[in-house]
């Protein structure tokens, strides 16, 4: 039995509830340990696809694992908060990254679809667990607790963290490719006086680009995600953009124009390309 298989079978729970917001049928996610008493890591397994020619499958899988790892390292060097890389086995399609002990932004913000979701994922237990790690007393109702945590930091502060982190990433010419509130996590920092830290996750669809248009599309995708997951998201997204603009500096005016006049005409083309990418990578 290959080392990778054994690592995965020894790993705990597949399809982690914390990450279930970004359920992805092309890969499985595990919480694993390299040695019995080391820190946990998140294992992303791009398993073999039987419907694809074996050689093509290996090549594609290798390239995607490598691409994701490289994007993460590039972000780390640029000072963007992302999980560090912990192990890579490209031939088996396995990427091990730092375990982020936090809560996804999607669950921290009021969501219109909260009830429907709770039916199919064990969210309650998970939320309690995460809140404990934030040292916050757990309210009787999960939703109340969620709002509480946001009130503590303030929705506006959270939005600013998001904007700043995205700008840092775009200044390094990395396009995330799948920006949603479930691909962002909030965690407490180890330093006592410092506030929480926003961590961007899931760089599976990311790529390198210097084009203003690609950055604008990244933001546009996030805007759509906000609008579809969180009711009354407009003021939230406005404050994301404000912090983003501040950090981007002189690149911002051009980008702003692109974002304003492009919404439908230019982007529809780019969105099609994005969708095609998603479909082809499945």
């Amino acid at each position: 039995m290959a080392a990778t298989t054994r690592l995965l079978t020894s790993s705990v729970s597949e399809y982690l509830p914390t990450y279930s917001g970004s359920f992805d049928p092309r890969q499985k996610v595990y919480k694993g340990f390299l040695t019995p008493d080391s820190a946990p890591i998140l294992l992303k397994h791009r398993f073999k696809k039987g419907y694809r020619h074996a050689t093509l499958d290996t090549t594609l899988t290798k390239a995607r694992v490598a691409g994701e790892a490289r994007a993460l390292l590039k972000c780390l060097r640029a000072g963007v908060n992302v999980p560090g890389v912990r192990m890579v086995d490209a031939s088996e399609g396995l990427l091990g990254i730092e375990w982020i002990d936090g809560q996804s932004v999607k669950k921290l913000l009021p969501s219109g679809a909260q009830e429907e979701e709770e039916g199919d994922t064990p969210q309650v237990a998970d939320v309690e667990l995460s809140l404990e790690s934030f040292n916050i007393s757990i309210g009787e109702e999960v939703l109340v607790a969620n709002v509480k945590i946001v009130i503590e930091y303030g929705v506006d502060d959270l939005m600013q963290l998001i904007g700043t982190e995205l700008a840092k990433m775009h200044l390094a010419d990395i396009i995330h490719g799948d920006l949603t509130t479930s691909n962002m996590m909030l965690r407490r920092t180890s330093a006592e006086d410092a506030g929480p830290e926003l961590v961007l996750i899931d760089f599976g669809l990311s790529y390198h680009s210097t084009l203003i248009e690609d950055k604008a599309v990244d933001l546009y995708v996030l805007e759509r995600a906000f609008a579809s997951t969180h009711p009354d998201s407009e003021p939230m997204f406005t404050s994301v953009l404000a912090a983003y603009a501040k950090r981007m500096g002189k690149e911002w005016p051009v980008l702003r124009r692109r974002l304003d006049d492009g919404e439908m005409s230019i982007f529809s083309g780019r969105i099609m390309v994005l969708m095609a990418m998603v479909i082809s990578s499945s």
Partner: protein, 202 residues
């Protein structure tokens, strides 16, 4: 000396023993002994190779225990898949630690050198290898004080690490330069990540 167990690997290379020696006085002799052993012939050669069958690492360039563990893990992984780039799993650790693909450079920089006083010794072996025996063998070849691995934090030479990994111009490191503790956490994370993804680096 600390011992680690990687249950996902085959028993013949699932156990790792790590020790930090300080005040090492025989670094130069050790280096020549390793070189001589690699080409020695006959029964004597076999014996010598077994005596120095360890990875000897310049401890100044290691930022954390996780850093060394990551390089070791990736080395065993390469061996288990028949994908070693160097001759032994121990030299593979040195290769993994170096940011470039140049093996000679990796050994020169990360291996034990003449004026080394702080040396990390790693042995990858089977489950039958008794830790106390390994420790004895380490002490036989290295003349120095065996200290707890936690002392590594007093040994790390952060400016050399930053130089070799070309981190001085990176925004992440520049931003944190006022806060020494934070800077070290960031440098460590970048270095560990680089080692982990060495196999897919361009």
């Amino acid at each position: 000396m600390e011992s680690l167990h990687y249950p996902q690997f085959d028993p013949e290379h699932s156990h790792v023993h790590v020790a930090l020696f300080r005040g090492v006085t025989n670094a130069a002799a050790l280096k020549s002994r390793i070189i001589a052993a690699s080409t020695a012939e006959g029964e004597f050669g076999e014996k010598e190779r077994e005596a120095v069958n360890f990875a000897f690492i310049d401890a100044r360039l290691i930022t954390s225990k996780l850093h060394l563990e990551t390089a070791t893990f990736q080395a065993i992984l390469a061996e288990s898949q028949g994908g070693l780039r160097t001759r032994t799993v121990h030299s593979e650790i040195l290769y993994n630690l170096n940011p470039t693909h140049n093996i000679t450079e990796a050994i020169r920089r990360y291996g034990v050198s003449e004026n080394n006083t702080d040396v990390l010794v790693v042995r990858i072996g089977s489950q039958d290898l008794v830790p106390s025996v390994v420790e004895e063998r380490m002490k036989e070849v290295v003349s120095g004080n065996l200290v707890p691995l936690s002392e590594l934090q007093d040994v790390t030479d952060w400016s050399s690490v930053k130089k070799y990994y070309k981190l001085n111009n990176d925004p992440a490191v520049k931003e944190a330069s006022k806060d020494l503790k934070k800077e070290r956490v960031i440098v460590d994370n970048i270095v560990v990540s680089s080692v982990a993804m060495k196999s897919v680096m361009q």
